[in-house]
């Protein structure tokens, strides 16, 4: 088992069901995703079955089970972004980097996800790369912005 996971487990009391989601979040923050090794370790630590952990983590859209890219793109498809052409942007972005939502590029440079709303509706359409929000997006601005993320 990886040292990072052992370290994270140490911060959470054993057998405490309530810390399952925060624990998963912490693992994903540091590791980038939830590996089957991590699920195994959490299961032993919290005394919760692996199937339950997988059941809980797959319920929430935040958790991923494969390694992410170096840069995570979240494209907003909330109502305001939708009426301002958010899905055109998603189409163009998909074409540009060659992946669909939920996937990671082969060179691991980008992964792509769709999110329901980033709460920046007044500046729609928006997308978030890592923790930076790019506002008033258009297909034209796309290439230049992607170039900033290696």
């Amino acid at each position: 088992m990886k040292d990072t996971i052992i370290k994270i487990l140490g911060q959470f009391p054993q057998n405490n069901r309530g810390s399952l989601i925060p624990l998963l979040q912490k693992v994903q923050n540091l590791e980038g995703y939830i590996s089957s090794d991590a699920i195994h370790a959490i299961s032993t630590h919290l005394r919760v079955s692996r199937s339950t952990i997988y059941g809980v983590s797959s319920f929430y859209s935040q958790f991923r089970f494969n390694p992410p890219g170096r840069n995570s793109i979240k494209i907003c498809l909330g109502t305001a972004c939708h009426v301002q052409g958010g899905d055109f942007l998603l189409n163009a972005l998909s074409l540009e980097i060659g992946i669909k939502p939920g996937e990671t590029t082969e060179d691991k440079r980008f992964d792509l996800e769709r999110v329901a709303c980033l709460g920046c509706c007044a500046l729609a359409p928006v997308m978030m790369i890592n923790n930076n929000i790019h506002s008033r997006m258009s297909v034209i601005k796309l290439r230049e912005i992607l170039n900033r993320y290696a």
């Binding site: 929430y60 939708h82 709303c117 509706c121 500046l123 297909v139």
Partner: protein, 592 residues
């Protein structure tokens, strides 16, 4: 003489629009030139359409500059700070003279947003300086009893601002009446409705007002544990809440024997959501905090008697909590002065979509939707025709133009088939297709359905399939009746609010825009020219000058043509993004 202040708005919207660069530029100028002004941060003042915003407060008054970039910032520092000569053309609001943007602010009554954009949210002293934590001190100092507090909240008439509209005072009374050693108070900050961002703005701009509201609530119902369930998509809100909680602990507003009230022990921790819309429903939220899948359960028992860890629990929304300290300080009557008979106080609306001035407005209940959109919001962008406004997110509906004189209160909005919801108003113009909007929301609810109730899980999927085929020109006239039938079954047979309201966007669009459904089905046409399957983009050979702009901008490389020759769109590669249509200067792209 007070020192001149330069205040930069650093909310999520502001930062997204480039406010951090502006802040850093001003900071660099101040340091390199050793300028004598105070540089401060604040959060969103609600004028998102003018971000980034910089305010200068000097001896003569206050001046709010809008649409600021680094160059404009240099000019403002040079002229306004160094030469005391405000740069009039960038000023969007001032207490010295009138501006066009005053209309946005004039009719607003700021109770919830009283501090947003005025204080540094990371500095507890600035909150305290604006009457902050005075309400809880008043309770401690005057020994106001728990029942009296609940009575004040009841008399104020405030109803749950998360969308439910249940009287807050009543909720508190139920939780107070349930006796137990441990009780919890939860702040629902899982703002999931796409198109609503007032909770984010309050958490980023004035987190202490929410904490104080929770502390008052905890005292009133005798809770000892507090949880803020906040969306993970709001990293800045979480950061500022974390800072605020630490500061409140250090000052003794959280902890043991708070403000010397013997036995009043209360603390708050943040629980990050993990991306599930259904967790905005209170029983699903509780399940999520307990580490389970966020699935709602049957009520009763209500959380007030058996909630988090089976203890009495009271859940209110961010905006509701932010109102509480103001009500305690100013009294129930002052609050109830605003609003209509059954909906008291103010409501924050998030204006977005095809509106000129988008952002947050706080208005008294009872104002008409038309006034919000046209007086405050300045009307429709690009002088297009106003078609409808979507209220209440995926649980709400579309209110057509001819009902725009409907006033905003819970009951009047419900009567249209929409709901007040959390207060998102997404404005739609003639270029918005109402069938597409209905499909958009069904796609959302279908994905977010937790799967517990058959009608919600499968019914929304079937509705989405029908809507999809209508937008692809494969619908039949009987589909409209099928949609309505399914809609009522889903509403009647779902356990929680998600399923009970999921069909609303479809029902309201059928009710008010049936002709658009019929055009898609009968004529195979999308009147608003949105539904891709029903559109083709073609080059008009008469008008095309061969300027190559379309080909260069086409993200799918689907346009062929040599310079100065007529271009051609390869239909099989066209993704129908509309880029060529918007870019062509010669009106040579035909849409049919």
């Amino acid at each position: 003489m007070e020192q001149t202040k330069v205040i930069v708005g650093l909310g999520s919207c502001g930062i997204a629009a480039g406010a951090k660069k502006v802040y850093n530029k001003i900071k660099a100028l101040k340091e390199t030139k050793d300028l004598g002004f105070e540089l401060k941060k604040t959060s969103c003042i609600g004028m998102c359409y003018r971000e980034p915003l910089v305010e200068v407060v000097d001896d003569s008054g206050s001046y709010l500059y809008g649409d600021i970039d680094e160059e404009k910032a240099i000019e403002i520092i040079e002229k306004h700070i160094n030469q005391h000569d405000p740069v009039r053309e960038y000023i969007i609001h001032s207490d010295m003279f009138e501006t066009e943007d005053d209309e946005y602010l004039k009719d607003q009554v700021k109770i919830v947003l009283r501090n947003c954009g005025y204080i540094d949210p990371e500095n507890i002293e600035e909150y305290e300086a604006r009457n902050g934590y005075r309400a809880i001190k008043k309770i401690a100092g005057q020994r106001i009893s728990r029942m009296d507090i609940i009575q004040i909240i009841l008399s104020s008439g405030i109803r749950g601002r998360g969308g439910g509209g249940f009287p807050t005072g009543l909720k508190w009374k139920f939780a107070y009446d349930s006796k137990a050693d441990d009780k919890y108070i939860i702040c629902n900050a899982d703002e999931g409705d796409p198109g609503a961002f007032m909770d984010r703005s309050v958490l980023e701009g004035d987190p202490h007002s929410v904490l104080e509201g929770m502390i008052i609530g905890a005292y009133a119902i005798e809770a000892n544990g507090g949880v803020i369930y906040c969306r993970a998509e709001y990293p800045l809100a979480i950061k500022r809440l974390t800072i605020a909680i630490e500061q409140a602990r250090a000052k003794g507003y959280l902890g043991k024997n708070i403000l010397g009230i013997d036995g009043f022990n209360f603390d708050i921790y943040i629980k990050e959501g993990a991306g599930a819309f259904v967790c905005g429903e209170e029983t699903a939220l509780i399940a999520s905090v307990e580490g389970e899948r966020g699935m709602p359960r049957k009520r009763p028992p209500f959380p007030a008697s058996s909630g988090l860890w089976k203890k009495p629990t009271n859940i209110n929304n961010v905006e509701t909590f932010a109102n509480i300290p103001w009500i305690i300080m100013n009294g129930a009557e002052a609050y109830a002065k605003y609003g209509t008979e059954k909906s008291k106080g103010t409501k924050v609306f998030a204006l977005a979509g095809k509106i000129k001035r988008s952002g947050l407005v706080e208005v008294p209940m009872g104002i008409s939707i038309r006034d919000v959109i046209f007086k405050l919001g300045g009307g429709i962008r690009g002088n297009k025709k106003f078609k409808a406004v979507q209220m209440g997110g995926p649980s709400g509906g579309c209110i057509p133009e001819y009902l725009a004189d409907t006033i905003v209160d819970y009951d009047s909005v419900n009567a249209t088939g929409a709901i007040m919801g959390s207060g998102g108003m997404v404005v739609m113009d003639e270029d918005t297709c109402m069938v597409d909007i209905a499909k958009f929301f069904l796609d959302f609810t279908q994905k977010e359905s937790c799967g517990k109730c058959t009608f919600c899980r499968i019914g929304t999927k079937r509705m989405l399939e029908i809507l999809t085929r209508i937008t692809e020109g494969k619908g039949e006239m009987s589909d409209i009746e099928k949609l309505e039938e399914l809609a009522y079954e889903i509403k009647d047979n779902s356990l929680c609010g998600l399923g009970q309201t999921a069909p609303n966007p479809v029902l309201t669009t059928i009710k008010y825009f049936r002709d658009e459904y019929e055009a898609h089905i009968r004529d195979k046409k999308c009147p608003a020219k949105v539904c891709k399957s029903l559109l083709t983009y073609e080059v008009d050979p008469e008008k095309c000058t061969g300027c190559t702009v379309c080909a260069r901008n086409c993200p799918a490389d689907a346009i062929d043509g040599e310079k100065k020759e007529v271009h051609f769109i390869r239909q099989e590669d066209c993704i129908k993004c509309g880029m060529c249509y918007t870019k062509c200067k010669f009106d040579a792209i035909k849409l049919s």
